[in-house]
Symmetry: D2
Subunit: 366 residues, 4 copies
């Protein structure tokens, strides 16, 4: 495997299965001197955890972060930071029925084919609980970015086919966390909420689109030609479970317009070069240009649905049917927001360290 | 920088600027015993080179591949393969006018901001000529894949807003190379060609969507959770210049349908598990499932247009206007097809080596 | 920092400080299907732990390994294996005196200079407890090697200037663990033991040389020109605290003999090529040749001594003197044996995976 | 293979066989703005090339460096620097006799076993010509170090059993290049020269020890626990052909002295902490302490000797004998000096970039 590490200078390694004793992450490369405690991490884990509202799974998980290393006297020491979250409320019995019947749209069959053997309890490593490590590490990345004047904001812009109206960054900052779907347009949020309830009522699920914006990123971040900022973001975001597409700036829309519409005109403003539009999403030639970094991900509908589906029985090698019971979010986008933010933050910190924008050994004065 | 290497076990390093003496690539990790000569590489370079038809730039480049190492008696030795392509037909004089006026939509300004200094001749490292190294290396990857029964096919499915009809794989294989736009739907191809001519006539440009399909990839390829096959493809494809979006399977469409429509039902066919649809694009949980790998990229319109655009003069720090003259493709998708195929092939070989599907030291009997 | 990960395909990440809550390791890349439980790991940790005999520190540490992920039904799943060892018997009060007086020969001053700030409790990250993660991960590597018929044996060949007689591999296998110094020559072992007691009596310490042999490694392991087997071993072994030299085969002795003495003559034996000597230590051109891999490390004397030493007071920036009290091994070589074995095992598994000698996804039939 | 890349942020990839058309290197990660031309590189290649004196092989190679990318207007641009050196004076005919008779002490047999097939012309990839890429890249690293006040000096301290007297750094700087053995002690140099002639007269060869010193390296360089400065140096140096041992500071001698002798006492000098000795070789806990970095390598005697040796005939699988004719250095240490310096310089630049001591994008003002 050995695919559980992400980043070059700010590097995280996640581990853990949904029904094992714990999940966690090791964050290597955080500079010394950062004031950090478990509440910094808890704050983000709480945005990710299930049971936040009636549109998420009622599975109650406290997801309490325990920091095991890398901190001394309330500050990071430069040593790896190990964070552990125990799994509670784990009942594997329901999954026994799924032992030989891979769930359509899930990784059950592919894990079985790759490893010849699979931890069938709750998705094992392919469970959404795997993202706890990403979010915990992302919380540290966000704190580092914050000290450099950089903000990472995610919000749901489409859900179940309902498109939110476009709003400005201040609206996103102020409105997103006010409703359970994390949509900055309050009217659309209400419709999305209704859509989620309707899908659940039908034993079905809905997907959506999440946008993440990096604000305050200086020009010059990104390492062409393969480690372009856009390429690293694409990898980080596409590595999140259920994500089927990534776009930067105008993204797929750029394929249907003319060059004269796509190119962001340049002008001098306040004595500095300034693009007058941001169709590029803040990245040209794989390098940031000082404008907000804008990326979007397509999130598929939750594969766990209670509607009957066609599947197979691996013990008899015959066709069969399955109804997935249990507690599942009928829509992933609201809870994927903090995960996507975490991945963007992790990419930004790593690439800013590579480019010399964030120091690697000591942060500020200690 | 140090962002010019791609891959872990099958690893390429590209180098070279459009107006320097040469461009090239070092391919490290090719197993010994592969029959290889420069015509294997030339074949793919010829699909990439300009001047193939009247819809591409008339810049005449022979782009002749010279292999400098790693081959003995017509076979690879396991040592790195260095490939060099000289730059001819290089006239930098036209670019002198652009020295201080960054072209909108290009990397001129971001390179300048990152490196404090920039090779203004023909885009330097951010030129499309950079993709020669990718295509040359991809030719080797494709040959390795071919020996494992795997084919990588790219084609244009949308251009300037014109959408091709969906056709099956045999049509793509047989029709794509028969028209200059590389579209497998001949009717759409004609309209796309006309669209390109029209855009050029207006001093403008058009973008499009390219689809790449990996056929014959076995189940089990991909290394969760960060080095998922989908994540590696996203990085590889997004690292190509002008690409603003990547999607796998249904991609962004998956955000608007229900879970019951998205999940590919499973059945036993010929004694083996078989998804009855391929909405997943051949990847679940980041691991291939044996179905065709389907990915798509959004390609923005060529930023070099002859229409007047607003830009700035860095010497006077004042606003100005620019008309880009010279020879430029009015539409990138047809020529990006072999580049995108190369990136998909490179990802597949590397990930298949990591998963133990392709041997790393010796290929077959020698 | 981000220097806490080792390996490419079989990759470990260690974390933890000596006086923090715990130390641990994440092992990523272990193939699925390996029967593994905590006693496999405990066995090796027990060889490393202090308090084994009267020549080691009397610090009593149980060092109990807890496996938190990657195992299901007694077998590895291919997911990362997280192992945690709690720190008990931690009394930091003695270290308060050392807060501002860096111990000569220790990393106190360099950590302080690098990170501007340092965890002064018991050496923090530079403590010998850091090697727990290496040994735990090495236990898994050794098990994988064992399934491939490969053994890794370490033993002390010199201590405090006392040189053991050279013995054959069977003697090493049978005698090393029978005495507390881990020397395969029983007579020398007695003298070494006496030497350790004498050094302790003088408030001083002694160093030595440890040899590690990899038996059964097939020909063909190693990736020239930078990732030669010898180079990877050198890195892995030199990364252990207190190691100041690494040699392969004849090592430094090869510098004083003639080529005609150094070159291992070749002959056909049992129908196969066979070197008649092993001056090369099993590696030529960075690739294993089928003979035992022989490496040796120079271990400096324990820097913590109770003799008075000259040092500085960082609070007053004046010269001062220090006597280090507390419980310290007067000689590191006996306890470094399992650590050095672990590093050799980790290098061998990783390089054998890279060369295709050990499968990466599934081990044998499950 | 994929073992031909070295470094993380300052990263080189070498390629080429001794009897192929060329050898070369791609240097990725050099910051923009460094004044660089081919004479900077030529200077170091001239120190490495054969035919410098009557103690080296009379093979006449001009080894002329051609820079193919990454430079514009005499300065680096931040893009990868590709350097090519054509192979001339290549006569493979003599090697045909060696096709089936692997040379003892060479990599002939191990390459054959690994790749099933081998380029038998002049050692192929395992030839000493492979080091041209290292030296060319090292020349750039040295220039970067020089701008940061750092010098890397190598010299022969032992050859064929003759040990040079220890001299101070100024003597090393001034005397080393004045004699063909590159020994800073002129009397020892004369004896070493005589020793080389004697060995050649006997159809034999001699090895030796080379010391490399990094002067001016600031405190704080090195990334514990695996990427310690010592570990990276060990890997880099051990990856050079013919090197069988690496040591730092007192190295193997540290194994026979007491802790009270080994520990470098600390004192305040000129208001700053200062070790009064440098037994540590400038590195403690894997981090530089501001003292000179001192490392030493054991170089085995040249394996190509004209004395008759026992070997095998792979076509008949029978024992045979071999006399190696042709032009070979009877002693490698004098010519390995610039190669070892290059590896130390490459490690220092890379680790200083990782630690934030050298900027990664722009060097100084441009």
């Amino acid at each position: 495997m050995s695919g559980n590490t992400f980043g070059t200078l700010f590097r995280i390694t996640t581990w853990g299965e949904s029904h094992g004793p714990a999940v966690g992450v090791v964050v290597d490369g955080c500079p010394a001197g950062l004031v950090l405690n478990s509440s910094d991490i808890q704050k983000e884990l709480d945005r990710r955890r299930p049971g936040q509202s009636d549109i998420t799974t009622p599975r109650k998980e406290e997801d309490k972060a325990e920091i095991l290393s890398g901190i001394f006297s309330g500050k990071t020491t430069g040593a790896p930071i190990s964070i552990l979250v125990r799994n509670y409320d784990v009942d594997s019995s329901k999954y026994e029925a799924l032992r030989d019947t891979p769930r359509p749209g899930h990784a059950d069959l592919t894990y079985g084919e790759k490893y010849g053997f699979r931890d069938w309890r709750g998705g094992g490593r392919s469970s959404a609980r795997e993202t706890i490590g990403r979010v915990a590490a992302g919380a540290i990345a966000k704190k580092l970015l914050g000290m450099n004047g950089i903000d990472v904001l995610g919000h749901v812009i489409e859900l179940g086919g309902i498109r939110a109206n476009s709003v400005d960054i201040e609206h996103i900052r102020n409105n997103t966390e006010k409703n359970p779907v994390r949509c900055a347009d309050p009217d659309a949020a209400l419709k999305m909420e209704a859509m989620i309830h309707a899908a659940r009522g039908q034993g079905d699920s809905v997907g959506g689109i999440v946008e993440v914006i990096g604000i305050g990123v200086p020009a010059g971040v990104g390492e062409p030609v393969f480690d372009k900022l856009s390429a690293q973001l694409a990898k980080g975001l596409m590595s999140i479970g259920s994500v089927k597409g990534v776009e930067i700036g105008l993204g797929f829309k750029s394929s249907i317009i003319k060059g004269s519409q796509m190119n962001d005109p340049l002008a001098i403003r306040d004595g500095k070069p300034k693009p007058l539009l941001n169709n590029a999403g803040g990245i040209l030639g794989g390098i940031s240009n000082g404008e907000p970094i804008v990326c979007r991900i397509a999130v598929k509908p939750t594969p766990s649905i209670s509607k009957e589906q066609r599947t197979i029985d691996l013990s008899s090698m015959k066709d069969t049917r399955i109804k997935i019971t249990g507690r599942h979010d009928p829509s992933i986008p609201p809870r994927i927001v903090p995960v996507a933010e975490a991945m963007v933050a992790l990419v930004l910190v790593d690439m800013m360290m590579r480019g010399g924008f964030i120091r690697t050994s000591i942060i500020g004065s200690v």
